[in-house]
Every structure is written in C-alpha cells, then in structure tokens.
Symmetry: C2
Subunit: 458 residues, 2 copies
C-alpha cells in the first residue's frame, strides 16, 4: 500500500464544499472527476452528513450516481440514507444494476420502501426481486444489463443490436451476446470475437455456442469462485428455475465479493462484528456493535479467571506465580491464534474439510511440541533469573510447554468444529480459543505449583 498520489496535506473535501456552496454543478463535477476514486472516498470520509448531502444535492443526478459507484458500499448507503426519497430514487435509478442492490441492501427496510415508492412500478418490482437475493449467490451478484439476441437474428442484426446497446450499457466493454428463444430461455452464447469471422447474413443459430455454461440464480459464491477458476470466462449467464435468462455474473463481481469475504473474516476475527465500521458512523452505533462482542468476551474472561480464584491460596504462598500468569495466558493465545489462522486459510482454499479434525490435530501436535519446548525453556530461564528458584522455572516452563500443545490443538481444530456446528469460525474461534487456553494455562501453572508448594516456598 503506497501513499496516495495526492499530497497528504491537501484537503479535497474543503474544495468540494466550497464549490458546492457556490452551487456550480459543472465546476463541482469537474473537480470531483479530477480526483482518483480513493481520494473521492477519502474526501467523503471527512465530511459530516449535512455537508456530504449538500454536495450530492448540488451534483446532477448522473454525476451523483457516478460518485456513489466510487465509494465503498457502506459509505454510499450512508449517503443515500440522508437524501430525500425522491432524490435517492433518481440516483439509484442511474446506478448499474448490481450496485443498486448493494446500496439498497445496506439501508433499513423503511428507507428502501420509501425509495422504491418513488420509482416507476415495473422498475420497483424488478428491483424488489433483485434485492431479495442473498448478497452471496449468483442472483445477488449478477448484472441485469446484457445483450439479449433473438434466436432468429442474423449476424448483421446482432451487430446493429450491439451498436445501439453500446449507448445504453454502463459497462464499456461488451463481452458476449446471449441468444434466447421466444420464452426468454437461454439457447446460446456469442463471444464478440466470433462475430468477426462470420458473414453478416449468417443465422445466429449457426455460429453461437450451444448449450453454454450457465449458473443458477441461487448458486453460492464459493461455487462461482470454483467455476471462474476452472474456466477462463469473463461472465457466465444466470438462469432462474425455469431456465429463463435473468442476468450475467461477471468475473470481476465474483473476485470483488471474494475479496470482501476475506476482509470481513479479518474484521470479524478482531471483534468487529455486525457489519463494517467506518469512523464516520454514529458513535452510539460503533460503541454498541463493539460492545456486543466485548460483553460476551468479558463473561468468558471471568470464567477463566475463576480458575485463578480457585487456587488463590497457592498464589498467596508463591506470589511470583502471579507475574507469570499473564505471560502464560498471552503466549498460549498467540500460539493458538497462529493455528486458527492456518486452519481458516486452509478452509478457505479448500485444502481442508471440516471433518478432518484428527488430521489437523496430528499436524499441529508436532509444531506444539517443538514450539512449546522452546517457549517453555525461555520462560523457565526468565523465572530462574527473576527469583533464583529453579522450581519456579520448572513450574512455569512445564505449564507453558503443555499449554502450547493444548493451544495449537484447540486453535487448529476449533474453526473446523465451530463450522460443523454451523457457526461462523471467523467470529467464534478466537474467543473460544482464548477462554479454553486461559483456563487450561491457569490450571496447569497453579495446579503444578500446588503439588510442589514446599519446593517453591523454600
């Protein structure tokens, strides 16, 4: 990630706001167009709702739609939410079909309803169907704009259809034409380059690729990733249960969704759950979302700490143990999280199935033995240096050795088990792991210590 092209001391939002206050649409949209997309997103991350609304209100509807395409989904939805339903509807009308669903999908149901009420009846019905698709199936990822070619057309006719379509299509590059029969069922595909090698009088049926690959509108993202990995298509037609052509899912939409899923796993693993957080969101919303995860964690923490409470007398006799408890807890968490990360990665690459708990456990045992021995030795030396009692080193070293093995075993397998029970491993693995390794680590240190309390208190 390099520095953005524009110097970091420029403040593009100030210029935007100045131009918006002057009310000059063409200067404002020219300046906006001169900013790279990340700078547009950057500028809107620095504007409060009112100022952002003023800018969008000053822009023409089509320029406003272009702007929304450049922003992240959460930013775009936040902006649309502040507009009047009339203006919001006019802008949504201008967006490419896949982005319409993305933006409306982030809004509350009553906001979506108010916007749809402003659109023409048939567009609203279409859009309602489209929003109903899950984000992570072909129907939710597809574009509905495509070049539809009647089966009885000639190549010359197709070229005329493409010529007129080029004007209304938001996508600049035409990839394929889709050939449909009278009932709108897909019967063939025409890659653009095939048109080059045919006479204009040729019937479409003679040069199209018959029985083209299709996906169902409910095909999930993972299967789409697989299909695009296997075949070098730029887009695949989407059909509904009646084999009617409903859209085309593009490689770039699938790649983008896959990237979003990976980033969302990272955020969830760090405790950002319930949706992406932008710091421009309202404070109470940010606090509440973060707290929902933290409050579960504090309960789990109190559970783990109760092990320490149970051994309070041992701790009182050998207070030096208290210095090492946080080290054991933290290091075991680190070792376990490494194993969680490797399992999450192998699961997402398809190298690992949720049933292979035993195999993963065996593969982690070796790492646990080696790393546990090294870390145990290091902490034992630290303990010996700390108070000169070799038995203290023996206790904390043994405990960290054993608990590292526990941590990598739990860490490697917990994402698989969580997934088999139908929960999201990105959210649940971390808290489960640290709770178990904390309880086990405290139990090991204090349990072993209480067995050799005489040696420790000499």
């Amino acid at each position: 990630m390099t520095e953005p092209a524009v110097e970091s001391d420029t403040r593009p939002w100030e210029e935007l706001l100045k131009l918006a206050r002057q009310g000059d649409e063409s200067e404002l949209s020219d300046y906006l167009a001169s900013l790279p997309p990340t700078d547009q997103a950057f500028a809107f991350a620095h504007l409060d709702d009112e100022d952002a609304e003023l800018i969008v209100n000053t822009l023409s509807v089509s320029h406003a739609a272009e702007l929304l395409s450049r922003l992240s989904e959460a930013q775009a939805a936040g902006l649309v939410g502040t507009l009047s339903p009339q203006l919001a509807a006019a802008i949504v009308h201008e967006l490419p079909s896949d982005e319409q669903a993305d933006v409306l999908g982030e809004l509350a149901d009553d906001q979506v309803g108010a916007i749809l009420d402003q659109l023409p009846e048939d567009e609203a019905t279409d859009l309602r169907e489209f929003i109903a698709y899950n984000d992570e199936v072909a129907g939710g990822l597809m574009n509905r704009e495509l070049i539809r070619i009647p089966l009885n057309e000639t190549i010359g006719g197709v070229i005329r259809i493409i010529e007129s379509a080029l004007e209304r299509l938001t996508e600049g590059d035409v990839r394929y034409g889709y050939v449909v029969d009278d009932s709108d069922r897909l019967v063939g595909v025409l890659p653009m380059q095939n048109l080059l090698f045919s006479k204009r009088s040729t019937a479409v049926g003679d040069v199209m690729i018959r029985e083209p690959m299709t996906v169902h509108d409910q095909t999930p993202l993972d299967d789409l990733i697989d299909v695009f990995d296997s075949y070098n298509f730029l887009g695949i037609p989407v059909v509904d249960a009646d084999q009617k052509l409903v859209g085309v899912v593009l490689r770039q939409s699938v790649d983008y969704a896959a990237g979003q899923a990976a980033e969302s796993d990272y955020l969830k693993s760090q405790g950002i759950v319930g949706g992406e957080e932008l710091r421009t969101m309202p404070l109470w919303l940010r606090s509440r979302r973060r707290l929902s995860w933290l409050s579960v964690n504090i309960l789990l923490n109190v559970g783990a700490a109760s092990v320490v409470a149970f051994f309070q007398d041992t701790l009182q006799s050998v207070i030096a143990l208290a210095v090492f408890l946080p080290i054991i807890s933290d290091m075991s968490g680190c070792s376990g999280n490494q194993a969680v990360a490797v399992s999450m990665r192998e699961l997402s690459l398809g190298l690992l199935r949720p049933t292979e708990v035993l195999r993963v456990w065996i593969q982690e045992l070796g790492v646990g033995l080696i790393n546990g021995a090294v870390l145990g030795l290091l902490v034992a030396i630290a303990a010996l240096l700390y108070n000169g009692n070799g038995y203290l080193g023996l206790v904390v070293g043994t405990a960290l050795f054993a608990n590292t093995i526990v941590a990598v075993s739990i860490g490697g397998t917990v994402p698989l088990i969580v997934k088999r029970f139908g929960f999201d491993p990105a959210i649940a693995s971390g808290p489960l792991l640290t709770t178990i390794t904390d309880m086990c680590g405290f139990f090991l240190v204090l349990g072993i210590a209480s067995q050799m309390i005489d040696k420790l208190t000499q």
Copy 2:
C-alpha cells in the same frame, strides 16, 4: 463458505494415486479434469511429496501445467520444487506468463537457475527479466501474451491476426488488439467490438483509439486498483521506460492480487509471518516461522510482566487482584484490536491517511469512554460479587475504564504510526498494542491498589 460439492468422505487423492501407479495418462488426466479446482487442491493437500511427484510424472506436460494453474501458488511451487529441472522447465514453459513468474517467484534462487538453464536461451532471458519485477507492480502482474498489431495493418489483416492468435493464446477471450509502431511503441488500442463496425479494408490507424491509457511497468498495485476502479477496462497495456509495449495487466490479475494482499494481512495479524503456511510444509519450517514471531512476543510479554513484579508486595497483600489482572489484560487487548482492525480497514480503503493520528484518536476517545464505562462497571460488579469488598471493584473497574480508553487510543493510531515509520502495520500493530496495554493495565490496577491499600486489606 459452503460445503464443497463432492461428499467429504471421498478421498480423491487415493484414486489419483491408483491411476498414477497404473501409469495410464489418459485415465489419470480425465479423472483429474472431472474434479473441481478446489478438489484438485484438496487432493494435493493430502499427498506427500513422493506421491505428488509420481502423479505429475505420469501426467503429460500440458496436463501437468493445467494442474499447477489450479493449485495455490505455494502448492504449485512446492510441487515444481520436487521435480527434475528438465521436467519442471517443460511444465513452466506451458504455463501462462503471469503464472510462470508466480511459481518461480516462490522457489529458491538455485532451483530457479536450474530450471531456467533447461529453457531455450531467449525464453530464459525473457523470464529472468520478468521474475525480476516485484510481485506487486504492473510488470509482475502483467501477461506477456497479447495481440500485437502493426500500425500499417487493415481491419481485414487484424481479423486474420486474431484468428491465428486464438490458437496459441491461453486466454479464451480476446479483449483488445494493441497497435504498435516500428519501434514497438504502443500507438493505439482496438477494442474487439470496434472491429465489428468497420469495413475490412479500413486502415487500423483510422479506427484505433489513439493515446490509450497505459501504465508503467513499475506502477504499484494500489495505483492499479485505483485505475481499474476509475475505468471499466478489462486490461490496460503496460509500457517500459522507453514507452515500448511489454504486456497487458488484466483486471482479474489486479483483483486477485488485491485479495491476496487482504488475506495476507489477516495471516500476518495472527502471527503467520514469513509467508503462507500450508500444513503439508515441512514441520521444522512451520515451527521456525511461527517461533520467529512468538519469540519476539515472549520478550515483549516479559517486559509487561515486569510491571507486575514491581508491585509484587501490593499483590501479596491483596491477592484477589491477581484474579483480575488477566481479565484487564485480555479485555484491553480485545478493545484495542477492534480499533486496530477499523484503522487497517480504513487505511486499505483509502479513507484514512497515516498522518491523521489526531483525528483517529479523537474518534476513538468517544468509543473508549462509553465502552470503558460499561466494561469497567461489569468488572467492578464481578469483583464485588467475588469478595464483597467494594473497594476492589472500584480499583479494577477504574483501571479497566481507563485502560480501555488507552487501548482504543493506541489501537486506532498504532497502525498509522507503524506505517509512517515504514513497517508493516499488519505484523507490528498487534504485538505493540498488547505490550503497551498490558503494561499500562497492570500499572493502573496495581498502582491504584497500592494507593488505597488500607481499604483493600480491611
């Protein structure tokens, strides 16, 4: 992430191995082709080096190259590393140009040298130049196969060039032709659909898009992401310092690289540094890589624990404090990591510049105040329930309240500061955060406790 299509109790690697032992190339390659790409990767994740080598040796060179395209880079490189340089060179020769660099880039220098020595002189020279590019610049991401059109050609001639190119191109869809002058400098671009609307006798110079957008071979990934966000191109030509056409960078390559970067950030934040880990890698390599990060962490941990050691007498007098130290440490870490995740996300979206430390700090303060108050209250109640001494609750509650504010302040700003100093925020933010919040948390609990030791020991 849904379950794979094949039942999880099938073992595709056993079938592969059986067919390889029978030595029947066509049955083996047919079976392989019948597996979805994730199942191919899954199967090779379950084979040891010898068995994998046997399978690749049985396959024809072109089928082996197809297989490598389906595997992850680390898997593919691992496999190529086990082959004889002759066979490896023959397979690399068959790979698409962007994948050649990906695979060779993961191998050791002497292995790369041995493979290149087996290739024809000019191909080896080409490839050596290509590997020299960094992975994350246009030169490292581009494809070198493209349709090169002399400026003096007619549309009819272009169509003949494309027809013959279609046979050798590994990419199934042709997107653009690139028009070059006598010195191989790019002078124009021909989108395929434009060819449809021109007479065959037209000169290329009359219909091509002049002064097309290009990127330099050293243009970094982030700028490429920006360019593809701004313009709906499927590919952009890459030129060297002399404006000579050297390749074309495809949207899908940039999307893929961006996804890889996001996943790599997740792995690094969890302590998987020094490269992706697959559990099929040698045990000592996996242990060593994980230990390199753990051993830094244990040093940081010992540093934080020394604060506890400093207050050992306070702890001895009020042993109940020891029960709450791990809770304070863990909860502060959780709060801080949430702020780290939000900053990492805002940095990668370009919503935030590394200079905006003050702005982020102010935005985190509000969250810290609210969440600190809630968490502090919860832990205070837990302490009161634990030993009935309200002062203990006051100490740990106040400490967690204050330390939550510290944690979100550090967590939100540390990725920015680390980045400004030129380090990788994904690797360094977590350990720095937990060390500082641990030290500060222990100091707060024990420092406040030592000030009101009389009340606590009543």
